[in-house]
């Protein structure tokens, strides 16, 4: 088991807002899980707990059978070997594409080759000297993906990666991302509010509403047998 999330609870604003209520799930190496929910359902909080950008109120998170977050233990994000593609890409505006990608692998001896490799993977080999603002939205998205993949993370998290793109680009990138993740055999968590994205990319799916897990399982099985209510409506909306 690569990732195990056990009965995680998180509240904000002095326990007035419950962001996550006893959420549990697990993920095997090489699998992709989609976390689906509306904004405010708790999906962003969940991945922030996994990356170590927030601390849990209760519950345990294990990475490779090692506790990284619990009531008494907290491992800082820089020691977790988890990669993330941010919703707004979070590219460093004062660095070139090359510097952005090499940022996470500065200790690697062959970092030049590695940057070339991942840039080729995302199809942007000619852009390494450009600055982020000189690229289109879709290209920035690819750079963000390349940067997250460069250090070979155990786990890659994609936070609503396509939400800032138009429909045509979105379909194109969805295919590319799926290919890249499978090619590199990356274990990934894919956060989205779009059920179509989830069905196309993921092996497993987890549906969140108001901090509670409504249903989880193999994507195909959930698709065929959705629970009554929100999950069913969600799949019918396609």
């Amino acid at each position: 088991m690569l990732l195990e999330v056990k009965e995680v609870k998180k509240t904000f604003n002095k326990e007035k807002i419950v962001a996550l209520n006893n959420v549990s799930f697990s993920l095997n190496k090489g699998n992709i899980i989609a976390i689906v929910g509306e904004s405010g359902s708790g999906k962003t909080t969940l991945i922030r707990l996994i990356t170590g950008l927030e601390v849990v109120d209760a519950g345990t998170i294990l990475l490779k059978n090692k506790v990284v977050s619990s009531n008494s233990i907290f491992i800082e994000p820089q020691f977790r070997n988890v990669g993330m593609v941010f919703q707004d890409y979070a590219l460093f505006p004062h660095f070139t594409i090359f510097d952005n990608i090499s940022y996470g692998i500065s200790k690697l001896p062959n970092k030049k080759e590695r940057v070339k490799e991942v840039l080729e993977l995302v199809g942007l080999s000619d852009k390494e000297k450009n600055y982020p603002h000189e690229l289109s939205g879709g290209q920035q998205q690819r750079v963000a993906l390349a940067r997250a993949l460069a250090p070979n993370p155990e786990l890659l998290i994609l936070d609503e990666p396509f939400s800032n793109l138009d429909v045509i680009l979105r379909n194109q990138l969805r295919k590319d991302v799926q290919r890249i993740l499978k090619e590199t055999n990356t274990t990934a968590i894919f956060v989205t509010h779009d059920i179509k994205d989830a069905i196309e990319i993921s092996d497993k799916i987890l549906v969140l509403q108001n901090g509670n897990v409504l249903q989880q399982g193999i994507t195909k099985e959930v698709y065929e047998k959705p629970n009554e209510g929100y999950v069913k409506l969600l799949f019918e909306s396609i």
């Binding site: 002095k14 326990e15 990356t51 170590g52 950008l53 601390v55 109120d57 209760a58 009531n71 008494s72 233990i73 907290f74 800082e76 994000p77 820089q78 977790r80 070997n81 988890v82 990669g83 993330m84 941010f86 919703q87 707004d88 979070a90 460093f92 505006p93 004062h94 940022y103 996470g104 940067r147 997250a148 250090p151």
Partner: protein
Amino acid sequence: MFICSFWLKIKIIRIQIIHILLVIRTLHNKQPLKYSIKNIQRDTNKWSIFLLTIVLFVAIPILTVFINLIYGPGETWNHLVVNLLPNYVENSLLLIFGTSILTLFFGVSSAWIVSRYCIPLRKQLEWLLILPLAIPSYITAYAYAGIFDYGGIVEKILGIRVDVMNHLGLIFVLSISLYPYVYVASRAFFLNQSNNIIEASKLLGAGEKKTFFKLILPLARPAYIGGLILVLMEVLNDYGAAKYYGINTFTTGIFRAWFSLEEPETAIYLSAILVIIIFLLITIEKWQRRKIGYFNATKNHQKVKIELISNKLKIGFFTIAFIPVLFGFLLPLFQLLYWAFLTYKEVFTFDFIYLSLESLGVAMISAFCTVFFALLLIFLSKWNRLSSMKSIAKIGVLGYAIPGAVIAIGVLIPTLSLDKWFVLFMKSVCNIKVGFIINGTILVLVYAYIVRFLAVAYNPIESNELKFGNSLSEASKILGNSNISTFIRIEYPLLKPAIFSAFILVFVDVMKELPLTLILKPYHINTLAVKAYEYASDELIAEAALPSLFIVLTGIIPILFLNRLIAKES
């Protein structure tokens, strides 16, 4: 060995913090105690301890004032309460009341006119109206004393003599030099205001006048009251102007108790009352802003349109907007230039150049240290994971509300006892006779400047930090970088402009600062502000013009810079 004991101490402090926080936390929420202990232990990191140290360091002066209240007031306190205190309270209230009315009038009317109407020189007036801020109010006070003096401009041109060295004169001088705080706040509000709301009001049949008084004025209230609070803090902080005009206020009272009566206890009691008045003002301001949400109801807005008006109105509005510039900036500046022209031969000596360089040097060192502490406060509180510590960190920026004289006393008392303790220690343990090592040096002065101006550096850096969001630093950490390396590689390069402007703002404030400097400056070091004050106190007011002009000059540059920032942000 030393390092070992240091770490041991940190461990002990850590445990103590955990206990205190535990009590706070269990009072607040219903979580089982077992979890609370573990959570706090987990979330307390080394940054939390550093942060607490920094906050304590800058909170010492204000804590000192309140802790020392327990020793009781000095011998003359009863005399002071009966004979002088009513006068201080009356004068201070009168100043607050008078300057409130005048600054609101000058500030709001001129801001509305330049934001709304097509008057001659509109673009120029927009920034000219800020310039009075470049002249410290005590210097404006000196200039007006000259303008209305025997043989001054007023007597020469109008043939009448008016005495300005009284309450009304002081109210006028403070208002004309401080109204820009209200102007800047109101103008920023008007620039961000949507035109739709004005058009809606017009379509509903309200005229220009009714729209302004019924709609714009109430809507802009949080903005101009916010500016007014800054004005009142400056009024209560003022020493130079009140002293020169012979009006007794709390601040002059503190000086008197400290220097003439030599009663620190009495000075502390006066300081405490003054601080309480200021906190009352701040509370009122917070209260009036409680419903701020509805003031920005419209999100995407068209800017307020510039209205074309008749020539008659143009002249009228121009006059209203020009009067503050004329009286707040041009006239005092002219008077200073005239005096400087008369006296530069005697004043502009080698000593004066040396003094100017010294003054610039002190301001630079202080600005550098203040910005450094502001960065520490911002980033340590970001790196620390205890939410309760984050709110404690806010105490660090309270200094700007506390008058300079109060901070000076709060700094003097603990540093003096530290020095005395050190002298005793050296004498008894090492048998060496030493003098004071902190007092009488620039250290104390710089420390006090840091405490007083921390907020000036903190605010621009923090608002910029919030603007570029958290995701860049988070991305950096996820990519394997520590907090410090993230700061060096990502946050510092991106924040450089904000850090620079923070530096400039503090620099200018230090250049202008008078009451705190007067109390704390080392014997052998002088600043331009103190020099100007000394000349004026010796009735050599014309000689005070040259150092004053130097201060004004350094003040103009960042104000123009600030103006561009406001225009850009809108």
